[in-house]
C-alpha cells in the first residue's frame, strides 16, 4: 500500500530512536509539519496556476504555455521567480500599517483554513471537534484583508473592488455556511475525522441523494463566488477596475494575493470533497467485497486529490463558460435564490434524517 501514514510513523520512530530528548523530537516534528504544509501550499498553488492556464487555453482553442520544459510545466516556476524579482514599489499617500497588513491577513486566512483539512488517512492538520465551524470561521478572515487592502490603497479602483468583494463574499458565505450546516445534520458531528468515518460505506451524496445534491450545488456556487472567480469576478473585473483591490500591490506583495486566491480555489474544492464526497474514503458499494478491495488498493491521498481536482476542473469550466454578472444580478442570485433554497434544504434534510435514519 502506498499510504502516507507509514512514512509519518517511520519518521517519528526514527527520531525517537536517535534523539534522547523528547522536547527536541517534538521541536523537529513541529518544524517538519510546518515545512510540509508550506511545501504543499506552494506546490498546490503552482499546480493550480499551471492547470488554470493550460485548461483555459484548451477551452479557448489555444495551446497555452508549452515552451518552458515538457508541456510548459516549468512556466509557472519561471513566473514565480519573475514575481520575486519584480520591484516592490513603495506607494505614496497610503495608510502604511493597513497596507502592509492586508496581504498578511489574506494569507493567514487561507493558510489557517488549509491547516484544518484532512488529506489522507492519518494525514491531517488541526483536527478540532468543531472542525467545520473552524473552517468557516478562519476562511472568513481573508475578506477582512481584502477590505483593508482596498481601503488602505487610497485608490478609487481598489476601494470599489474591495467594497464589491465585501458585499459578494459575505453574502455568499451565508449560503456556504447553510449548506455545511445541512451536512452537519446528516453527519451528527462537526469533527472532520468523524464526518469522513461516517462515509466509509457510502459517501454522503449516496446516503441522502436529494438534499445533499442541492447542498452540494449551493456550496459549489457559493464557494466559487467566495474565491472571486469566474462569473463572479466583479471585485477584480479587469476591464472596469484594472485589478480591483490589489491594484496598488506590486512584486511579491501581489504574489501573496495571487497565491491565496489559487489556494482558496483548492480549499473550497477540498471542503466540498470532505463534507459531500467522502474525503479520502474510497468508493465503496455495500456487499461487493471484491470491488471494495480493488478500490481500497488505490491510496487514500489519490482519492482525495482526485476528487478535489475533479471539482476544481468543474470550477475552471464554469469560469471560462459564463459572462460576468452585474452586482444586482449577483445579489439577486444569492439573496433571492440560493438563500431561500438553502433554508428550505435545511428543513428538508432534517425531515429526511428523521424519516430515513
Amino acid at each position: 500500500m502506498l499510504e502516507l501514514t507509514g512514512i509519518i510513523n517511520w519518521i517519528h520512530e526514527t527520531l525517537m530512536a536517535n534523539i534522547p530528548a523528547s522536547w527536541l523530537v517534538s521541536l523537529i516534528e513541529y518544524v517538519l509539519i510546518g515545512a510540509g504544509f508550506l511545501a504543499l501550499y506552494a506546490v498546490l498553488a503552482l499546480i493550480l496556476i499551471y492547470f488554470e492556464r493550460r485548461i483555459c487555453a484548451f477551452f479557448q482553442c489555444r495551446l497555452g504555455p508549452n515552451r518552458v520544459g515538457p508541456f510548459g510545466v516549468f512556466q509557472v516556476i519561471a513566473d514565480m521567480v519573475k514575481i520575486l524579482l519584480k520591484e516592490i514599489i513603495s506607494v505614496k499617500h497610503i495608510d502604511k500599517v493597513l497596507f502592509y497588513s492586508a496581504f498578511f491577513i489574506v494569507i493567514m486566512g487561507s493558510f489557517l483554513t488549509f491547516g484544518g483539512l484532512q488529506f489522507a488517512r492519518g494525514v491531517h492538520g488541526a483536527d478540532f471537534n468543531i472542525g467545520v465551524f473552524y473552517l468557516l470561521a478562519v476562511s472568513s478572515i481573508s475578506i477582512v484583508g481584502v477590505l483593508i487592502a482596498g481601503w488602505a490603497s487610497n485608490n478609487k479602483y481598489a476601494l470599489i473592488g474591495s467594497m464589491r468583494a465585501g458585499a459578494q463574499v459575505i453574502s455568499y458565505e451565508l449560503s456556504a455556511g447553510l449548506s455545511l450546516l445541512t451536512m452537519v445534520i446528516l453527519a451528527g458531528s462537526m469533527n472532520l475525522s468523524t464526518i469522513i468515518e461516517e462515509q466509509a460505506d457510502a459517501w454522503f451524496i449516496f446516503q441522502a441523494p436529494i438534499p445533499v445534491l442541492i447542498a452540494l450545488v449551493i456550496y459549489l456556487i457559493a464557494g466559487h463566488a467566495e474565491t472571486n472567480r469566474g462569473p463572479f469576478d466583479l471585485p477584480e473585473a479587469e476591464s472596469e477596475l484594472t485589478a480591483g483591490y490589489h491594484t496598488e500591490y506590486s512584486g511579491i506583495q501581489f504574489g501573496f494575493f495571487y497565491l491565496a486566491e489559487y489556494v482558496n480555489l483548492f480549499i473550497i474544492a477540498a471542503i466540498a470533497t470532505i463534507v459531500f464526497l467522502g474525503g479520502w474514503q474510497p468508493f465503496h458499494i455495500v456487499g461487493a467485497d471484491g470491488f471494495n478491495a480493488v478500490m481500497d488498493y488505490i491510496p487514500t491521498w489519490a482519492w482525495f486529490f482526485g476528487k478535489a481536482f475533479a471539482l476544481i476542473f468543474l470550477s475552471l469550466w464554469v469560469r471560462w463558460s459564463f459572462p460576468r454578472l452585474r452586482i444586482d444580478q449577483l445579489l439577486h442570485l444569492e439573496w433571492k435564490i440560493l438563500l431561500p433554497f438553502g433554508l428550505f434544504n435545511l428543513v428538508l434534510m432534517a425531515v429526511w434524517v428523521i424519516i430515513f435514519k
Binding site: I33, G34, F37, L38, L84, L85, K86, E87, I88, V91, K92, H93, F104, I107, F111, L112, F114, G115, G125, A126, D127, F128, F133, W151, N154, N155, Y157, A158, L159, M163, G166, A167, I170, S171, E173, L174, L178, L181, T182, V184, I185, G188, M190, E248, G251, I252, G255, F256, I327, D328, L331, H332, W335, K336, P340, L343, L346, V347, V353, I354
Partner: protein, 117 residues
Amino acid sequence: MSSGEIFVVVFLTAIVLVIGGLLLGLLLAPHSTNPQKGEQYESGIPTRGTSWMQFKVGYYLFAILFLMFDVETVLLFPWAVLMKSLGVNGLLCVSFFLVVLVLGLAYAWRKGALEWK
C-alpha cells in the same frame, strides 16, 4: 500530536511564509525611486481628491442583513449536531426559530432591501 499544537505550528508557518517572502522580495528585487512612480495608479490620469470618502450605503445594508443570518447559522450549529437525538421535537422548536427568520427575510424582501439601487 494535539490539534492545538498543529494550529500553533500552522499559524507560525503562515507568519514565516509572509515575512520570508517579503524579505526574499526585498533582497532580490531592484529598487529605483521616481516622484511619479509612487502615485496611485488610475490608468495614467492623476487622482482627483482623496479616496477616503463616504461610500454607497447599499453595501452597509447587505452587511447588516448578513450579520442577522450569520448569527442565525451560529445558533443553529449546536442543534444540527444533536439533530438525530432531538428528533421531531427539536425540529419543531427550531422551525419556530426558522419561521421568525424567514419572516425577517420576507420583510426585507418586501421592503425592497434586497434590491440593488
